[in-house]
């Protein structure tokens, strides 16, 4: 099995590492902060992050330094950083580990980002269910505050950064950055119409950056070891650094694997995750969380970087890789995800709100063998009419399970419908005409 240097998970893999401030400092923690605050100009920090090629780990993969650069230069009022710790994308569980096991790494990243963008306040929006994670973070903030890494006049530099943990309360959509801001403002988590973007009108209408936990955790390393080092990892120039891939489903060793971007799915599944659970052939996988279209065994050699996965017709997304073995019903799998999206649609946009319920009901009917062949056309139409027509990217996400399974495993749908038709010959009472 090829071995790679761990970056984000390195500390926590040390035997006995607790994630306490002491442990973190012993592994060189907060050195980046010491060497940067007041010593490197904020714009240069942004410059370095741009140069590193770091792209957002939350899903969209937007270049982090470029995003920071969108903040108005001459704006005098407050600015905010929001750390997106909502981690709600099914198949994703990396931020949880980063926060629970090495919270100071995240906090150091947060302070560095605040310094770069001129924010004095940062909120960590953590998904409500992660009670443990929020406690660990709060404890760590307390430690860091006591040690002078957080708060007023950090290490005597005159720089102020306050960090608070804000718990969500159960809504996937609040991972979407503008819904997150609405939620943080105490409102319903409905995505905002863009433009304006958070960079100019974010939290409380002030310039704001939203970055994912993993994105921020990379910052201390980039600043300590240099952008060139970071840019040399993975598949430069567009996909640099490592990714913490979350492997779930039918593998022997599901879990988080930090690997350079650009490793193949085959390597991830068969070498790192121990191969298939029951040694059955792999039937399908999702490369980047529930929002990413399903791929097939034909794609096992696709490199896990932004461009390659996109070229294969899916997306790297949040790095959640879910593996399914031969024998799994793809219609069922798509329905399971569709049910998730139906449950989580915020209800703002008509196509998404009404479409998700329509799609779920149709899928349930097909699974229940009450489908009809024209349902497939309806499904396709509905998906097309949702995608690209909504306020946020949820609309695009929710159709990908159905669209991709219809594309690769259409015959499974047809089989169910045929079974439905023949079943109806025997059991006329269960015709699809119940509606």
């Amino acid at each position: 099995m090829p071995k790679y240097e761990l970056v984000l998970l390195k500390n926590m893999m040390q035997p006995g590492y607790t994630g306490s401030l002491k442990d973190y400092e012993q592994t060189g923690g907060y050195q980046a902060l010491r060497n940067t605050l007041g010593k490197v100009a904020p714009t240069d920090v942004t410059g370095k992050v741009m140069k590193s090629g770091l792209r957002g780990r939350g899903g969209a993969g937007f270049p982090t330094g470029v995003k920071w650069g969108f903040l108005p230069k001459d704006y005098q009022g407050p600015r905010y950083l929001c750390c997106n710790a909502d981690e709600s994308e099914p198949g994703t569980f990396k931020d949880r580990q980063l926060m629970e096991r090495d919270p100071h790494q995240v906090l150091e990243g947060i302070v560095l980002a605040c310094y770069a963008i001129g924010a004095q306040s940062a909120y960590i929006y953590i998904r409500g269910e992660m009670v443990l994670g929020s406690k660990i973070l709060e404890q760590a903030i307390g430690e860091a505050r006591a040690a002078g890494y957080i708060g007023k006049n950090i290490l005597g530099t005159g720089i102020t950064v306050d960090v608070w943990v804000h718990r969500g309360a159960g809504a996937y959509i609040c991972g979407e950055e503008t819904a997150l801001l609405e939620s943080l403002e105490g409102k319903r988590g409905l995505p905002r119409v863009k433009p304006p973007f958070p960079a100019t009108h974010g939290l409380y209408n002030k310039p704001t950056v939203v970055n994912n936990v993993e994105t921020l955790a990379n910052l201390p390393h980039i600043l300590t070891r240099g952008p060139e080092w970071f840019a040399g990892i993975g598949s430069p120039p567009k996909s640099t650094g490592t990714r913490v891939f979350c492997v779930s489903g039918h593998v022997k060793r599901p879990g988080n694997y930090e690997l350079p971007m650009g490793v193949t799915v085959r390597e991830l599944v068969y070498e790192h995750a121990g191969g298939m659970r029951s040694d059955k052939p792999l039937k399908a996988f999702i490369p980047g969380g529930a929002s990413a279209p399903f791929l097939t065994p034909d794609h096992l050699d696709v490199k896990l970087d932004f461009e390659s996965v996109a070229a294969a017709g899916s997306m790297l997304g949040s790095g959640g890789v879910t593996v399914m073995e031969e024998g799994t019903s793809m219609v069922w799998a798509a329905l399971r995800l569709m049910e998730f999206f139906y449950h989580e649609s915020c209800g703002k946009c008509s196509p998404c709100r009404e479409g998700s319920s329509w799609l779920v009901q149709t899928m349930r009917r097909i699974i229940a063998k009450r489908g009809q062949i024209q349902d497939l056309e309806t499904l396709t139409d509905l998906c097309k009419n949702i995608a690209g027509r909504t306020v946020c990217a949820f609309g695009d996400a929710e159709v990908s399970p159905i669209m991709s399974t219809l594309k690769h495993w259409r015959h499974e749908y047809i089989t169910l419908i045929h079974e439905a038709e023949s079943a109806n010959l025997i059991r006329p009472e269960s015709t699809g005409a119940r509606h």
Binding site: C346, E354, H435
Partner: protein, 889 residues
């Protein structure tokens, strides 16, 4: 002037090129070239939310379809709204929206004027592909006036957004999430809000409808007529809809009138006063002590005979006339002409005296005009607004919306001097939006104005130009202010120097500053003095004559402004010009072919005194009910019963009318033609929307008939002819166009005031009112407007009675605790003058130590009040009294 071309962008819409201001939304730009882009969630009043996705269009160079409602135009943009792709998108969104829609159009009140119906028709989807079970919401009782049918809801949230963004009420909540989102209100009880009807009006489908007219009509059966609401001085345009001469509903079209289509509960739900079963429908004559039905001939001849006899025996001075300023300009004009010309007296008063006379006198004195120098548009565009004693939501709700617009949409700085605490409640509270709030007792509102003045002077914020041109004014006022001490001001108002300094700084720094004075100031004991001081504030800061700046006193009744301008006051001839003004008298003499009486007339209280003394023998009372609205100390009953002739023109048999010798039934404002002049001075057409009840006729016809019978015929074929005559006195009156051109302040008048005019009462009005001690067990009770009523007429409107059916004493939570009171408890209020019992309501916004009682339910409470008359303006002030309060079981 902003650079026209730099602020305009050129865009192409479906091949048509149009120039629009930068920032215009695509949907609005399209409308300019006649292209209607289908939409549900878009509304010009609301911030774009782009949730329905119905308005998708193609924008060149953009990969995805864009929502026209949220995309601002950019120079050179090319937009296509009618391509196959766009059409398919519209169809598909409609398909989604219709999927869960119940399609119950046959039983839906919106059927026939429903956006969803219209768009469905336009895109003719043949059959629904949606074969699943439709979502069903549990039917829930919403409120007595508003009905919800959530299965019809398209989740555009226009109602919720309107309730928040425009009204600032925030009563509606989208509850739940996803497809199960429904619009609700909080709590297990019925909806409790401002009942502005905005949600009913703004709902594009039939999800929210009015219960007052439920199932009574199909839109195409209704006859519509535009007129002006008769309740408050805001003067909203309403569209009255009738079916077979039955009032069915009232609404106001988006963009219509000075109200821009917004209404309050009175406008929207208050129209049933007109169709109340107790309306008077026949003339009544007192025979053998009882009022009995008579014919018009009998009644009019009786009056004419009596009046002629009294005139013969005692002269014109034995007559008095009182008219409500709810009448049309034409009626007000003819009333005073009748009294001045046919009877020969200047003993004329109207209800405008209570609420508006102080302001008119102050305006005349300082700026030489008698009306606003600003418009509603100026309020909305102001950058600093000073509200003094307005309680604006309750008193002038639509003017309040302009203030909210300035603050919420344009970030104007709001300074408020109000007897009002910031607190969230079921109706909006202007103090919540205030940046500098001075919560003071009603009697100390003027003290807070003085505090602001003192801060302006001490902070060196006096206009330089003024100091140069009128040093003696500046010196005199400064000296007066210096003699006031901060500790005294602080003791009187409870606000510290820093608060005054901060507010004064904001005020002086403003470019477009409007001061708005309301009944709390204008009707107070020191209403005139306080208004004068407000003028000084605007003068000292150099604002008064600047564009977009001015003083805007709010009128309470719908035609207070018109009543003064029509000369329905002892001291004013039409114009108005003062009774002694030579030019004014000549103009009138010219037109009337006779001089109006020369001597000073009596105001209402003076008339009543004279009646009691037996000097005044006859009174014409039109639409007023002094017996019920004046405190007992004025002894109205005693005066009226002494009269030889009391004629009342009324819609209902009021307490006063019950004492009359003759009662004449008259039209409500929905039953007649004419004009009203709203608070900003805009003259608007009032139209007959239903046939009069019974034999009712417009008030002016009565004056016209009586004058004929008395030998001085004032003949007019219709009210327009009276308006024509008014216009010959006041050129242009009533044809001011869609938005009023405000009268400019007269520089010469201002100079006169600054040179000398300011002096006469300077000492008096630059004085603090001693803070009254509040003995244990007492509260300061004051009469206030309620949002849901206006005068006594509204208490006959069944819709409004469902919201507020009687008067409650509203008290502060601390006082409630102090007196061990809770909602619904009964209390006895008493003072040296008398006592009454009532129920209490605990309301956070009432300041501690105070208690509010709605003045349209105040008959019993009036006993407890004293009446103080302003020596300069004769305005009776009857608003506050100290009473002890005890709980009764």
């Amino acid at each position: 002037m902003p650079n026209q071309t730099a602020d305009m962008v050129r865009v192409t819409i479906d091949g048509m090129v149009v120039s629009v201001p930068k920032g215009t939304l695509v949907i609005e730009a399209a409308r300019r070239v006649g292209v209607m882009i289908p939409h549900f969630c878009y509304h010009p009043k609301l911030k774009p939310d782009a949730n329905c996705r119905m308005c998708l269009v193609e924008v060149e160079k953009m990969p995805k379809l864009q929502t026209a409602c949220s995309t601002p135009v950019a120079e050179g943009m090319s937009i296509k709204t009618a391509t196959t792709v766009v059409n398919d998108a519209h169809k598909s969104v409609l398909e989604f929206i219709l999927a869960n829609h119940p399609l119950d159009c046959p039983v839906c009140d919106q059927g026939g004027r429903c956006d969803l119906q219209d768009f469905s028709h336009q895109y003719t989807p043949t059959t629904s592909r949606f074969a699943e079970t439709k979502r069903i919401f549990q039917k829930e009782y919403f409120s007595p006036l508003i009905e919800t049918q959530m299965n019809r809801c398209v989740q555009c949230l226009r109602c919720v957004r309107y309730c928040d963004e425009v009204m600032d009420v925030k009563a509606l909540a989208p509850v739940g999430r996803g497809t199960m989102t429904e619009i609700k209100h909080f709590g297990a009880h019925a909806l409790d809000c401002e009942f502005c009807g905005g949600c009913v009006q703004i709902c594009p489908v039939g999800a929210i409808t009015s219960r007052l007219s439920m199932y009574e009509y199909r839109p195409w059966m209704l006859k519509r007529a535009d007129t002006i609401c008769g309740y408050c001085g805001d003067g909203c345009q309403i569209t009255v809809q009738t079916k077979n001469n039955q009032l069915i509903e009232v609404n106001s079209a988006q963009g219509a009138g000075r109200n821009n289509g917004d209404l309050c509960a009175k406008g929207f739900f208050g129209f049933h006063a007109t169709s109340h079963p107790e309306r008077l429908t026949h003339p009544l004559i007192r025979r053998n002590g009882a009022l009995v039905q008579a014919t018009w001939e009998e009644a009019l001849e009786f009056i004419a005979a009596q009046a002629s006899r009294i005139k013969q025996d005692h002269g014109g001075q034995a007559f008095g006339g009182l008219i409500t300023s709810r009448c049309t300009n034409e009626e007000l004009y003819l009333f005073q002409k009748f009294l001045r010309l046919a009877i020969g007296t200047n003993n004329i008063d109207s209800s405008a005296r209570y609420g508006h006379m102080n302001a008119v006198q102050a305006m005349q004195r300082v700026q030489g005009t008698h009306r606003w120098s600003v418009t509603f548009e100026d309020l909305a565009a102001a950058d600093v607004l000073l509200l003094v004693g307005t309680n604006i939501t309750e008193t002038n709700p639509i003017t309040g919306l302009k203030i909210k617009e300035a603050v919420k949409k344009r970030q104007a700085a709001l300074i408020t001097i109000e007897s009002l605490q910031p607190a969230v409640g079921t109706i909006s509270n202007i103090a919540n939006l205030s940046e500098h709030h001075f919560c003071v007792a009603p009697a100390q509102i003027t003290a807070a104005v003085l505090g602001l003045l003192k801060a302006v002077v001490e902070q060196g914020q006096i206009d330089k130009d003024l100091t140069q041109r009128h040093p003696q004014y500046v010196t005199a006022v400064t000296a007066r202010l210096q003699s006031l001490s901060w500790p005294e001001i602080q003791a009187a108002t409870g606000m510290d120097v820093a608060a005054y300094v901060a507010a004064a700084k904001a005020l002086a720094g403003g470019k477009r500053v409007v001061a708005v004075a309301g009944q709390g100031l204008l009707r107070g004991e020191r209403g005139y003095a306080g208004t004068m001081n407000l003028f000084d504030l605007l003068l000292l800061t150099g604002k008064l004559d600047q564009p977009g700046c001015g003083l805007a006193p709010l009128t309470e009744e719908n035609n207070d402004q018109g009543a003064i301008e029509m000369g329905a006051a002892a001291e004013f001839l039409p114009g108005p010009s003062t009774i002694t003004d030579r030019a004014g008298r000549d103009r009138i003499a010219n037109l009337w072919k006779e001089e109006p009486p020369p001597n000073h007339g009596a105001s209402l209280v003076e008339m009543l005194d004279r009646a009691r003394a037996g000097i005044l023998k006859a009174m014409f009372i039109v639409g007023e009910n002094p017996l019920a609205s004046l405190p007992a100390t004025v002894r109205v009953g005693e005066s009226l019963t002494k009269l030889d002739l009391l004629v009342c023109q009324e819609l209902f048999l009021t307490e006063t009318a019950a004492l009359a010798h003759v009662v004449l039934p008259v039209c409500s404002s929905l039953e007649k033609d004419g004009t009203f002049t709203n608070t900003e001075g805009h003259v608007q057409a009032v139209r007959r929307t239903v046939e009069p009840a019974g034999e009712c006729c417009p008030d002016w016809e009565i004056f016209s008939a009586l004058s004929g019978l008395m030998g001085t015929p004032l003949e007019y074929g219709e009210s327009r002819e009276i308006l024509k005559e008014i216009r010959s006195l006041i050129p242009g009156y009533g044809s001011l166009g869609p938005s009023p051109v405000p009268t400019k302040v007269e520089r010469a008048a201002i100079d006169r005031y600054l040179a000398q005019g300011f002096e006469s009462d300077l000492a008096g009005r630059y004085q603090l009112t001693a803070a009254v001690s509040q003995p244990d067990g007492t509260v300061q009770v004051s009469l206030v407007q309620s949002l849901f009523h206006s005068g006594k007429l509204s208490t006959r409107a069944k819709g409004l009675l469902q919201i507020e059916e009687r008067g409650y004493l509203r008290i502060n939570p601390q006082d409630a605790a102090r007196f061990s009171l809770a909602d619904g408890n009964r209390v006895r209020l008493s003072n040296a003058r008398g006592e009454m019992t009532t129920d209490v309501k605990v309301v956070d916004r009432v300041p501690e130590g105070q208690a509010w009682f709605p003045n349209h339910f105040s008959q019993d409470l009036n006993r407890l009040f004293d009446c103080v008359i302003d020596p300069d303006t004769k305005v009776p002030s009857i608003r506050a009294a100290s009473v002890s309060m005890v709980k009764v079981s």
